[in-house]
Structure formats: C-alpha cells, structure tokens
Symmetry: C2
Subunit: 210 residues, 2 copies
DNA sequence: GTGCAGGGTAACCAAATAGTCAAACCGAAA
DNA sequence: TTTCGGTTTGACTATTTGGTTACCCTGCAC
C-alpha cells in the first residue's frame, strides 16, 4: 500500500470516528505510521484531505444505492431483493460509512450536495422513468397489481428498514436489549426477513410472482 | 429564561450542529449572549456542559420511545399508531435530536450506554412482558392472528421507517429529488402512510380491528 | 563518486481555543 | 448608605493544533 493510500485509510478512520472538527492531523499521521509533515506533503491541508475521504465515501454509498433505484433491467421483485442485498453487504463491510455520511451531509455545505447531485446524474441516469423503482411502483398501483401506496413513501420506508439498524446500531441495540454479538447475529438474519416485509407492504400475496 | 437555561439551549444548538469536537465554547457564549467566562462559572468545563446537554437529549428521545414500546395499556393496533404519532411529533419538533444522539451514542463511551440502560429500566419497567410490543407480536404470531414475523426484526423495521427519514434527511432528500419544502411536505403526509405500511407487514387484513 | 529529485522528518511558528482570575457589578438585606 | 453574596466580565495564560521550513536520506542517472 502506498503512503498516499495509507493516509486515506487512516484519515477515514479518524474522520469517521471523530468528525471533521474532532479529528486530529497528528492522530491521522500516527495511524498511518508517518510524520505529520508528510500529510501536508500529500494533501495540502485538513480540509482537502477531508474532502478526498468524504468524496470517496459518498461514491461508495451513493453509486450502488442509486444504481439499484434506477437500473432499468430489474423487475420490481428483483429490485427489492437486490436493494436489500446490496445495502446489507455494503454496511456489513463498512459499518461506519452510513452514519459518517449522514453526519457530514447534515452539516450540508451546498458544495457537498452538488457533488451528490452530479454523482446521481452521472451514474443513475435513466431516461425510461417507468423502469425505475418509483416508476414501477406507480404503474403497479395504477393497474392494481400492487396495494395502493405512495411510491416515495414506500421507497423511504425501504431505505429506513435497510439502513437504520446500521446507522443507529447502538440505539437499536439498547432498545432491543441485545449485546454486540447478538446484534451482529440479528443483522445477519435480517436480510431474509427484510425481503418478506418489504414485499408485504405492497404485494397482494406473500409469494413471489417471478 | 435564566442564564443557565440560555446556556443549555445555546450549547445544544452548537453541539448538535458541530459535534463535540467541532463545537466552540466561544460560539456557545455568543449564542447565549453572555461572556465566555460565565460558561465556566455554570458548567465547569466543555466536557461537563456536553454531558448535561446530551443527557437531557437522550432523555427527550428515549423516554417517550421506550414508553410506547412497553406501555402495557396499549393494544397492538394502538401501539403502532401511538409510536408513529409520538416519533413524528418529536422529530418535527427537534429536527436534529436523533442524528445528534446517534452520533454520540456511536462514539459510545460505556458511560453513556449505562445512562441509557438506567433510563430504560426506570421508565420502561413492565413486568408483564406479554403486554409489551415484543410480547404482543410474539403472541399474535403464535396464535395466527398475525402473519409470521420475527418480533424484533419487525420492531427494528418500524423504528427505521419512522426515524430514518428524519435522521438521514439530506440523504433521502437527494435520493427522492426533493427540495426542502417538498420534503417537509413529504414528512407531514408520511404519518398516515406509515400506519398503513406498518399494519400491512403483520396484519392479515388492511382494515383495523379495534 | 557526484549530483539530483522525490520522499520523509524534526523543529518550529502562529493562530485558535479551553480554561483562569481578579476586579467590577448589582440587587437585596441590614 | 453600607455591606455582602452571587453573578458577570475583560484580560490573561497554557496548551493544542494546523501548517511551514530547512534539512536529511535514499535510490538512481551520469
């Protein structure tokens, strides 16, 4: 691993854990096993380093998510399955990713939101709106295949069900009275159950149709 | 409003917005309209002030939530309605409360978790497990009133559906391509839809039974 | 060997920031 | 009016921290 990469990894850990304001350049240097001056050699300053880290992380989250929401090749059934699988895999791998982005997106410098918009435009572009998640839901409701539902409310619900237990790990852990290990277990079993629950909210039968 | 209260309000704003590390005592003093030295007169140091704020906020979140989860007087139907209503109201009122707590709980000093546990024990105590959310779900599944579901997975889902759109406001806003005003509208309409969606996941019919 | 360029470092600097303190202020009791 | 407690403040200090600079090291072309 190059020094440049080591810095990014170390910086991500530190920023995710402490936030921008709480992160210390010295600690990042220590984690990366280099001198603090080298940080400034590779990344001019804290702000620039932070931008690099955050941008990479936003890509890591938003690309797969927005892809699944808009991929025109997926049926509604497949899209739900894929969405659950994709998010589960992502957050199992990067436990702090989501909360980190939520935090920093909340501090919402307009600059960040523009970055997100560009990403979504580039990677999520799909001129056939009827083949998006939203479009498929709308159509299904209209022709009666699906139970009546506001597509966007449903999408927000699926997002919440898939993401919240990862972002609010400690909170949910306490409310469910689980320890770390039990909660990990809980998350692993969740994937299957999620698909069932997501289906029940809109499909008229519990059984898959494709 | 006493100086002490003014400080707490100002501190909450600053801490919620900037996190512990990014918060500045000077800014808190400015917001409260007092001298920085007065901060230290009322709250010995930054850490102590932070604890006060965080503890108050944790109470504000956890008490109503854990109450609804365990209140033995509620039927399952009522509990769902009450849960949706309670959380919606809370987060409409305190838009940054949830994310703030998620952040700080994630940094999870064991001390904080102990505080939470004490709160839950005190306020959520209920020796009739069968009259809790979990107990009612378990029973409903067992006797076939409800569709088969893992009670805890379901509770986590309801939590996510109710809370995520508030905690991840900017993220969901972007994914749904809504501006601030449209999103506010979206959240207001959400309450009704949430109840329907939560019901569908477990009830065999769309119509309420009580 | 010499010179050189890119990577790395210790020592240093200036600004920011948490925290301190002695003096001033102020309303109420005597 | 005077005194006295709690409150408020401007000025100060000590420390932390982001960022700079001059120097060193190492591999390599000549």
């Amino acid at each position: 691993m190059t020094t440049e990469e080591k810095i990014l990894v170390a910086a991500r850990e530190e920023f995710q854990q402490a936030g921008f304001g709480g992160a210390r350049m010295q600690k990042i240097a220590d984690r990366a096993g280099i001198n603090k001056a080298s940080l400034h050699y590779y990344y001019r300053n804290k702000e620039k380093l932070f931008q690099q880290v955050l941008q990479k992380d936003i890509l890591r989250l938003m690309i797969p998510v927005s892809m699944v929401l808009r991929d025109p090749s997926l049926s509604l059934e497949q899209r739900i399955r894929t969405f659950v699988k994709t998010t589960t895999q992502l957050f199992m791998d990067q436990p702090n990713l989501l909360l980190f982005i939520m935090q920093e997106l909340n501090r919402a410098p307009e600059r960040l939101l523009n970055l997100v918009r560009d990403i979504l435009k580039e990677h999520g572009l799909n001129d056939d709106e009827s083949r998006t998640f939203r479009g498929q839901l709308e159509e299904g409701v209209k022709n009666g295949t699906l139970k009546p539902v506001d597509p966007e409310q449903y999408i927000a619900s699926v997002l919440g069900m898939c993401m919240f237990p990862y972002a609010a790990r400690s909170l949910v852990m306490e409310l469910l009275e689980k320890d770390k290990e039990a909660y990990q277990n809980f998350l692993e079993q969740r994937q299957e159950e999620l698909i069932t629950l997501c289906r029940r909210m809109i499909f008229r039968s519990d059984e898959p149709e494709d």
